[in-house]
């Protein structure tokens, strides 16, 4: 069965810290995504990657960066955390090189609080 694992379910960090969120998938999927989920706003795409070392900005990339050194792992980095980045972060993966019609498989999320 498809498995997307996010390293932390809950995380508390301080303003100004550099924060790393890790995501690993075991399905050999080409595409990987980072979203943030906020009540009433649905999911908003931060970054996505369609291959190793490739990345594309989503709708809200400001304040974030990503790294994909291996196919199975996609990391989200908050360069200098701010309280506005308190949110639920969801990682997902899907098949194929283009964002086509394949369903996305999600991890259980990381609830990040920035104090």
């Amino acid at each position: 069965d498809v498995k997307v694992t996010q390293s932390s379910r809950y995380l508390v960090k301080r303003t100004g810290e550099k924060v790393f969120l890790e995501c690993v998938q075991d399905m050999d999927h080409e595409n990987m995504f980072w979203y943030r989920q906020d009540p009433g706003l649905g999911l908003r795409l931060i970054y996505f990657s369609y291959d190793v070392k490739m990345k594309e900005k989503g709708d809200i990339p400001e304040g974030y960066s990503v790294s994909r050194e291996k196919k199975e792992r996609f990391s989200l980095i908050l360069e200098s955390a701010s309280t506005s980045q308190t949110s639920m972060y969801l990682c997902a993966s899907s098949l194929y090189g283009q964002i086509s019609n394949q369903p996305q498989h999600f991890g259980d999320g990381t609830r990040l609080s920035i104090l």
Binding site: G40, Q98, I99, P103, Q104, H105, F106, G107
Partner: protein
Amino acid sequence: AQSVAQPEDQVNVAEGNPLTVKCTYSVSGNPYLFWYVQYPNRGLQFLLKYITGDNLVKGSYGFEAEFNKSQTSFHLKKPSALVSDSALYFCAVRVSNRDSNYQLIWGAGTKLIIKP
């Protein structure tokens, strides 16, 4: 602008009754439409999708959705609701972005509450 809307923040249904969760969209070109469900403290799970073909799409857990091109809608339905269907439901549509790649845009979500 390309968009997807879920007009109801919350839907309340009695167990055993039919349920409908609404979704409307605005895209250029042919739409690819998806429904996902999120149970508490979990990630999203894929329910069903419409790409082409029959307007009535069947998915997981007894759910189905009807694509209506003239009304630009893709409502999620189930003939008989279960308490375990209580969750947050998201509609999504594939759009082409500024770089001519595709991405999904998501509705705000509808909380479905099934009462015993």
